[in-house]
């Protein structure tokens, strides 16, 4: 049996077609939109740089900066909490390793919307935290600053995205040759010095990709800051989402989305360039 050449070509074309329809075309549309404008609630196709100039203004630069800052907090916290977890899973447990790994992945099976709402229940004025503190008599009136703040957004984003950091880090840590660590011990390296001069540098690729996996979605987050950030914590993702919703400003939204994408690409490129130990391919 011989497949017809045209059949083979059709099969080869399918993925390309998929990419064109669902990736390249929308992207091109966005690029086009970003140079157009809205007049009388209609998108008008004439070339303008106004959208980009608007982003350069103080207001939006500040939102971009605070989004980057918050995403860096989220990434740093995830690393701080996730590294010990990944290390423990990769190098300290044997028997329950799979079960524990499953526990790390388990939250990913719940919608992040549900997880965001859960944090509202925990951090709200009538939430679990306030109720507990009040019933213990530690405070008289509930904290109102918990919900609708950078803190709430940070906590929720750390919780939502940390598994994406733990998994690649676990994979890298698990692959470190145990005899290399024995050699470090044999040569007199204590736990801390062995960690700092051997384990940490060798886990750099895992740190790099894990941090990217947290930083990128944090930069683009919009539901979580919308629900938990209120008016005090505004991230660029929410503003972009608004342009495609209530504001009906597709051109301005497209321009901001493209700038955001540019920032993320730059971060990814820098991380992948420098996030590998010396002496490796």
């Amino acid at each position: 049996m011989r497949a017809k050449v045209s059949t083979v070509l059709a099969f080869l074309a399918a993925p390309k077609l998929w990419l064109i329809i669902f990736f390249i075309l929308p992207m091109m549309t966005m690029v086009l939109y970003s140079f157009w404008r809205v007049a009388d609630y209609q998108i008008v196709a004439d070339f303008t740089l106004r959208n980009y100039q608007k982003i350069g203004g103080n207001l939006y630069v500040n939102v971009f900066l605070s989004t980057i800052r918050l995403s860096l907090y989220v990434t740093a916290l995830s690393l701080l909490i996730g590294y010990p977890v990944a290390y423990f899973l990769a190098r300290k447990v044997r028997r329950f390793r799979l079960t524990l790994l499953l526990l790390v992945i388990l939250p990913l099976w719940t919608s992040y919307l549900v997880r965001t709402y859960a944090w509202m229940l925990i951090l709200g004025t009538q939430g679990v935290v306030n109720q507990a503190l009040m019933s213990l008599g530690l405070i008289d009136a509930p904290f109102t600053a918990l919900l609708y703040s950078d803190v709430a957004v940070t906590i929720a984003l750390v919780h939502i995205y940390m598994p994406y950091l733990i998994l690649p880090l676990y994979a890298v840590l698990e692959k470190i040759d145990p005899s290399v660590l024995e050699a470090a011990w044999d040569l007199g390296g204590g736990r801390l010095r062995t960690f700092l001069s051997v384990i940490l540098p060798l886990s750099l690729p895992g740190i790099a990709s894990g941090c990217l996996f947290v930083f990128i979605p944090s930069m683009g987050a919009f539901v979580t800051p919308e629900l938990l950030g209120g008016t005090r914590s505004i991230m660029i993702g929410s503003i972009i989402a608004q342009q495609f919703g209530v504001a009906y400003e597709y051109p301005f939204g497209s321009a901001m989305a493209l700038v955001l994408m540019g920032l993320i690409f730059a971060a990814a490129a820098a991380t992948l360039r420098y996030g590998r130990p010396r002496g490796t391919a």
Binding site: S179, E182, A183, D186, L187, G188, G189, L202, R278, G279
Partner: protein
């Protein structure tokens, strides 16, 4: 004059229900090249790792340089290990790898530099000092591993099959380098291998291990010439092993009945069979004489030449008599044709009467 560097007393190590090391006593003299030899699973690597402090014995005592081995002595420990897969730090250059141990000992910067330079020169690595491990060949990486261990001036160097990953030619070359290196630095080397040729080439003392116990130890010559058991005879070099039944002896020699008739041989020190005991009779292929010269020997017998193989320096002949196939290594290039009847034999001083061991079948049974 002699001083004991490593001392093991009744050392036992179990992993779960498996007894890896089953009561070992061993004393290693200072400056010796000692090899722990045996097949995989015989406990040699576990023994080495216990000397290095990587594992602690379940019972018994290990002293290195007079001090008990403890896991927490850090850089002050008198041993250093060279690992089978080198275990170099992949993200460090050769210079950084070698300097690691000195940095951990908080040696001064200038001092580190001179000591690294010296050891790198000793191992001929000057040209590679800025390279990373993956940019080097296996042999070069092995040298870096040696330099990294030796630069800290250990009292005892432990080597766990360090040449196992190299190809044959490189292995031979590194064997000679290791021997020379050990003479140059003059410290005790404890070496683990399953390669008997390597052990014989390198060691002052070979310690043959089997199932977690030491079966024999001594210089290569002694182990080869006077194997204590059939296991040793078979593992180190080659041996024709014939089943027999002891029918008498005089302390130093014994006579046993076998398929080839009564055979006399020397007894190892620890083996004193009583008449009626099953024994294994061992004769090395190079001690079997084939041809007219055999007629004058203590034992000779007629047999049929069943196989010949020309190996260059020697030829391997297989002679079959009474259902027993005996391998013989003879020199010379002219060989009788297979199928001819020949006389073969050996001197009683070349035959050993060893304890029976179920693991070894009579030579003949494998090639009837």
């Amino acid at each position: 004059m002699s001083q004991v560097d490593v001392e093991l007393e009744a050392v036992v190590k179990r992993f779960g229900t498996f007894t890896a090391v089953d009561g070992i006593d061993l004393a290693i003299q200072r400056g010796q090249f000692v090899t722990l030899l045996g097949p995989s699973g015989c406990g040699k690597t576990t023994t080495l790792r216990m000397i290095g402090g990587f594992e602690l014995p379940d019972s018994g005592r290990i002293l290195v340089a007079g001090e008990p081995v403890a896991a927490d002595r850090g850089a002050a420990r008198p041993t250093r290990m060279v690992f089978q897969n080198y275990a170099l730090f992949p993200h460090m250059t050769v210079a950084q790898n070698v300097a690691f141990g000195l940095r951990m000992q908080k040696v001064g910067k200038a001092d580190i530099e001179t000591r690294v330079q010296r050891i790198v020169a000793l191992l001929g690595l000057e040209a590679h000092i800025a390279k990373f491990p993956r940019q080097m060949s296996g042999g070069q990486q092995q040298r870096v591993a040696l330099a990294r261990a030796l630069v800290t001036q250990p009292r005892v160097l432990l080597l766990d099959e360090p040449l196992g990953a190299l190809d044959l030619k490189m292995r031979k070359h590194m064997q000679n380098e290791l021997k020379k290196l050990q003479r140059d630095v003059g410290i005790t080397f404890v070496y683990v291998t399953h390669d008997q040729e390597e052990a014989m080439n390198l060691s002052d003392t070979i310690v043959v291990m089997d199932h977690g116990r030491i079966v024999q130890q001594g210089p290569a010559v002694e182990i080869y010439q006077n194997p204590a058991t059939a296991y040793v005879a078979d593992f180190i070099g080659e041996a024709n092993l014939l089943a027999g039944t002891c029918c008498g002896g005089d302390g130093a020699t014994a006579v046993a009945a076998s398929a080839l008739g009564p055979l006399r041989g020397l007894l190892p020190a620890a083996h004193r069979p009583a008449p009626g005991d099953p024994v294994l009779l061992s004769i090395r292929p190079e001690h079997v004489v084939v041809g007219t010269d055999a007629a004058a020997l203590d034992f000779n017998h007629a047999g049929v030449l069943t196989e010949t193989a020309y190996l260059g320096g020697t030829s391997r002949l297989t002679v079959t008599a009474a259902g027993i196939a005996v391998r013989a290594d003879v020199s010379g290039h002219a060989m009788p044709a297979p199928g001819t009847t020949v006389t073969f034999g050996w001197a009683a001083t070349d035959m050993r009467v060893l304890q029976h061991d179920d693991r070894f079948t009579t030579t003949g049974e494998t090639t009837p």
